[in-house]
Symmetry: C2
Subunit: 275 residues, 2 copies
């Protein structure tokens, strides 16, 4: 149940590895030698807990990270610092034919990190949908315009929703990423203009920042502020800001393997997502 | 579209009024003189916004509270301090026959405040369900055992879920309210025993209190901490506590009129809820 491939083309970070399959274990079913494949942030999980059974390996308490985790045999995982990788096929993604290996590689981390909180599709691993910010016509904010923010903007656009970027990089947001609107969150007039208008926000910022007045207040009732950045210091949360609008502050990490495959296939169907 | 009744029997607080209908406006359809009825926290809303259209009058920005709000005609609402009340029938609840007026009255505030975050039924006003903590077999925590906490425990039991109370009132929780388990959140051994076990928590505490280590850590992945108490000072929220388990911190206020009626009918079907 293992396969080997050389990371010939792309090694973008410690946990985004793409390449060509060069060897197959005897029980491998979904790959052939010569196929393109990818390994994201995970190379193992227990396989039997409730999370694994529901395709949420990313929340398995025994998950094994692709980089710097003890593997089943006690060795340490080296992720993107390896020249090749041997992995259980469950943790290897089929690479869509029209998805370039080089520009597609970052999707294995930032792609699934932003796709998961946005996507509310009803699937086996999320039978009731979840945060559901993927509907055309919705207004979705993206806070911060680093790696996660860039991809979040593209994902929101790909779902057909309207994107409002909260950042200092206005020109890049509007021209480069085709965001619909750009707001400087410290500008009170601009913030006032967005009051109670947004269905949700993806917050990608890793620095401690205020969330009550600037962010929760631009959400509609039932709006969702979803954190994918992880500031070290606590955020100050005024509970009244949630209670008066049945709002939520949520967070999510990556996604399970099935969802990551779904995200890659979705990205491949939206070529412009990668431009 | 109005009716009048004398608050003969019960006046529990400023915004929980029950009594007997004594006069009807010409267009009133759902009441007759002599019926029992109730008015909860709301006596008005705009009737045309998206929230009103979806039976979420409690999130209408023009909502009129039963107590201390300016009414349509500019007068001030006096709620439970009145001898009688004239109200639009949309804001008057039909009182179930077997529901005692006196013990049932508090449901108009604490009942709907706890029913709404727990109940995830798929209805016209919440077409996809919402927080969904109403399933038999779930483990649901209740933090604090004041008015809201007492009713929350009963509601969770009524839904068939297991109740874990976090409070100092152990004997009352276990014997009086039939909670399944009682935990002192400052006792690290007790908290350790509940680690990652709960599907959700209803937090009724109005004093500032820690939420990360004691509460978010006893939630399963995808668990929900729902605030109905509103501490004045900010709560300290470590985003990593949410991200690593796709957890959420949410809040909710009361509920719309249709949902409040549903809650009353549900309570009437569960007589022991009122004991």
């Amino acid at each position: 149940m293992c396969l080997t491939w050389i990371d010939e083309l792309s090694r973008y970070s410690s946990h985004e590895i793409v390449g060509v399959v060069t060897e197959l274990g005897s029980k491998v079913e979904k790959f052939e030698v010569g196929d393109n494949g990818g390994v994201g942030c995970l190379v193992g999980s227990c396989g039997s807990c409730n999370n694994c059974a529901n395709d949420f390996e990313c929340y398995c308490p025994k998950q094994i990270l692709t980089y710097a985790s003890p593997y089943h045999d006690g060795t340490k995982t080296y992720g993107g610092y390896s020249d090749h990788i041997v992995a259980d096929e469950r943790f290897v993604l089929r690479w869509p034919e029209n998805l370039p290996l080089n520009t597609g590689a970052p999707l294995l981390c930032v792609g699934i990190t932003t796709y998961n909180p946005l996507c509310g599709r009803i699937t086996t691993y999320s039978p009731l949908g979840y945060f559901r910010l993927d509907k055309p016509g919705m207004k979705v904010g993206v806070v911060g315009l680093g790696g996660l923010g860039h991809v979040a903007v593209k994902m929101v656009k790909a779902f057909g929703a309207e994107v409002i970027v909260f950042s200092t990089k206005g020109q890049e947001a509007l021209q480069g990423l085709k965001a619909d609107c750009f707001i400087v969150s410290k500008d009170q007039d601009q913030m006032q203009s967005a009051m109670s208008l947004l269905d949700g926000i993806i917050d990608t910022v890793f620095a401690t920042h205020p969330i009550n007045a600037p962010l929760l207040s631009v959400l509609k009732p039932h709006g969702k502020l979803l954190l994918v950045g992880a500031p070290e210091k606590p955020l100050q949360l005024i509970s009244f800001s949630l209670i008066t609008g049945r709002k939520i502050v949520g967070g999510s990490t990556i996604g399970g393997l099935k969802e990551t495959q779904e995200m890659l296939d979705f990205a491949a169907s939206m070529v412009w997502l990668l431009i």
